[in-house]
């Protein structure tokens, strides 16, 4: 009956990104023999790690039905501070300073949103400008080179795995633990599902929301560091409009813009999927101008299936008055 068919449709819709990924890997694998190699896989993850890290932070924000447009600016600010003010410092000392700065950036957003009750969209839109402005002031609108130590860090591999991936894995692990194994993490999901019920149940909604924007700020800074250590110099467009692929990665991974649904593993998958497509297009010598087109089509498909899934779910859960036998 309708129940069974509905469930089947739902199953397909639920796994649409995964199916998409499988199809893409097969197609690219058939078209290029360099694509399906371990080295290439490491490469893909390496290149997607900074997006994945920032998207992990964004996932927290999206889970409470918020949004943070300022991550790209935060990223650039971190890179600028690292390159301009801390060139002499060894990475082990400089990085924590930058991360604290990212935290401060997130706190500004969080303060505006929770205390002054300004909409998240407009708050982070303005801190995007302010953050980028301050960073441009620091950099003097010029290329910011990074110290040799930073670059060495970016190019080092531990146990055959590039440092960026290590950082990304650590961030992922922490995020997984926080979201799944702490009360805070579960409360994030609860608030996303129903903020009123959350407040009624006695959850300190303001505090959780505040922390979530702080987490996003930290992740953006770490992403900036990782990306910076990979590219040697930060141009004045470093991190510009990065908020879009970051949100796209999270949404692609099944995180809802309306809160309460999704998770960091999906987000990481989304980030890797985007990078896989880009990588596959390179490997198959596709016209580079077509990359953004293909990627946006894939994101579109993912969002489309997600909306269809929501519609199907709503239909399945409609309230009934008469209890009738199926």
């Amino acid at each position: 009956m309708t129940g069974l068919r509905g469930k089947l449709v739902l199953l397909v819709l639920q796994n649409a990104p995964l199916l998409l990924f499988a199809v893409l890997v097969i197609v690219f694998g058939l078209m290029s023999d360099r694509f399906l190699t371990p080295i290439n896989f490491v490469n893909i993850v390496n290149q997607s790690s900074h997006i994945a890290i920032i998207a992990i932070g964004m996932t927290f924000v999206l889970l409470i039905a918020g949004i943070d447009l300022s991550v790209g600016a935060n990223m650039y600010l971190s890179a600028a501070v690292l390159g301009v003010f801390l060139p002499g410092l060894p990475p082990l000392l400089a990085f924590p300073v930058v991360v604290v700065l990212g935290l401060a950036f997130g706190m500004v957003n969080a303060f505006m949103i929770t205390q002054l009750r300004v909409a998240a969209f407009i708050t982070t839109l303005s801190t995007l400008f302010i953050g980028r402005g301050i960073a441009l002031y620091f950099s003097g609108n010029k290329m910011v080179p990074f110290s040799k130590d930073v670059l060495t860090f970016g190019r080092t591999a531990f146990f055959g795995v590039p440092s960026a991936i290590w950082v990304f894995l650590v961030v992922l692990l922490i995020a997984l633990v926080v979201l799944r194994l702490t009360a805070f993490g579960r409360q994030v999901y609860a608030i996303g599902a129903d903020p009123d019920a959350a407040a009624k149940a006695g959850i300190n909604v303001k505090r959780v929301v505040f922390s979530v924007y702080c987490i996003c700020g930290v992740c953006a800074a770490v992403g900036g560091l990782v990306s910076g250590s990979q590219v040697a110099v930060a141009s004045s467009t470093f991190g510009f409009q990065k908020e879009f692929p970051v949100i796209a990665a999270a949404v692609l991974g099944g995180t809802s813009l309306f809160g309460g649904r999704g998770g960091v593993l999906g987000t990481v998958f989304g980030a890797v999927l985007i990078q896989t497509v880009e990588n596959g297009l390179v490997m198959t010598n596709a016209n580079p101008y077509l990359y953004p087109l293909v990627i946006s089509v894939i994101i579109f498909i993912a969002v489309f299936t997600d909306s269809s899934r929501t519609t199907v779910l709503e239909r399945l859960e409609r309230r009934k008055i008469r209890v009738e036998p199926d």
């Binding site: 839109l125 441009l136 879009f244 489309f304």
Partner: protein, 341 residues
């Protein structure tokens, strides 16, 4: 509650006046004038006729996009695709117009065909956005985000198909005139924008569709129960937004004399910011063309003044951001005052 009322009654007259100003819909205009006068003392050039005209022509394309955005914001949506529409329309339109083998070049009606191409691109993308949000229940934020990414890329790709250069030039003089020339000392673009603004204002304040837009933004469920075709209303808002972006593209392209795929790339946040500064609500149901004009004027005057001051791009960014933020905070305060009143 009673204590609040009492304090309003006993409030000194000056304080009451401040409150009235804060709640006034002309607040942004007042702020612009105050800012302008303050700037005058620092950079007197700001008051010259040339600067004034500069400000005017700089604000024109931005204003058209912001007007389109206002329609979408009123129904509680958002259109992030406007910049990509500008870019796409610019290169498609230019490919029709250009003297270097344009599709309609030399036919005698290339100007009309070109303008049609601009508008067609805008309407097509707007239609796509509209269908996705209303028929497939996709959030407008993410739909227009993907169309933005797609058409930004598509515009560049389209350019590479037509030319080896990074833009499509050699546009007919008559077309360029739309963006550059002045008639009786006033830019032609001004006339175009005035027409768009006038029409938009008329539609919003005098027509059935205008009333429906607000109703859908204020309470979509009540609107549906009242027999309003909610989906159609939202759909057309996106089409209008696309069309306005296309008109802006004509003005930009004319001003630059080339069809460029990176056109308008940085104006997205300006557009949304200007509308919100003017008082258009992101949550729908609230907005006026006049407010949007004030918002755009405010942002443009600030841009121009910072430019005249010779400030580096860094300060421009930071100051602009702070201004948007202050506007948002003022709005939040204002909202709380209104709730209390």
């Amino acid at each position: 509650m009673n204590t609040v009322d009492a304090s309003v009654v006993s409030m000194p007259r000056a304080q009451a006046a401040w409150k009235r100003l804060l709640l006034s819909e002309y607040l942004v205009l007042v702020l612009t004038v105050v800012y302008f006068l303050a700037m005058w003392t620092i950079v007197p050039e700001i008051a010259t006729l040339d600067t004034q005209l500069d400000i005017l022509s700089a604000m024109m394309p931005l204003l058209v996009v912001a007007i389109g955005q206002t329609f979408v914001l009123i129904v509680a949506g958002i259109d992030l695709s406007a910049p990509s529409i500008i870019a796409m329309a610019s290169v498609v339109g230019a490919s029709v117009l250009t003297g270097d083998g344009g599709y309609a070049s030399g036919t005698g009606f290339e100007i009309a065909a070109g303008i049609l191409a601009f508008i067609a691109v805008g309407c097509a993308i707007g239609t796509f956005n509209g269908i996705c949000t209303t028929r497939f229940n996709m959030p407008s934020f993410i739909v227009t985000l993907t169309t933005m990414m797609f058409f930004s890329g598509a515009a560049i790709w389209y350019t590479t198909v037509h030319t080896d250069a990074s833009s499509i030039g050699n546009l007919p003089r008559a077309f360029v005139a739309i963006g550059q020339d002045r008639v009786f000392g006033l830019p032609i673009s001004l006339a175009v924008v005035l027409a768009v603004a006038g029409t938009a204002h008329f539609v919003l304040s005098r027509t059935v569709y205008g009333r429906w837009l607000y109703a859908v933004g204020l309470n979509p469920r009540a609107a549906a129960v009242s027999g309003i075709p909610v989906r159609r209303v939202i759909f057309w808002a996106f089409v209008i937004s696309g069309m306005c972006a296309a008109i802006a593209s004509i003005l930009y392209t004319g001003r630059l004399e080339t069809g460029t795929p990176v056109l308008g790339q940085r104006i997205l946040l300006d557009v949304v910011g200007a509308a919100v500064i003017g008082g258009v609500s992101l949550f729908g149901g609230k907005g006026k063309i006049l407010w949007t004009i004030f918002g755009v004027l405010f942002l443009t005057v600030i841009d121009k003044s910072l430019q005249l001051l010779g400030l580096p791009i860094a300060s421009v960014f930071a100051i602009k951001g702070s201004i948007i933020l202050s506007a948002a905070i003022i709005d939040a305060v204002r909202h709380r005052l209104l709730v209390r009143a």
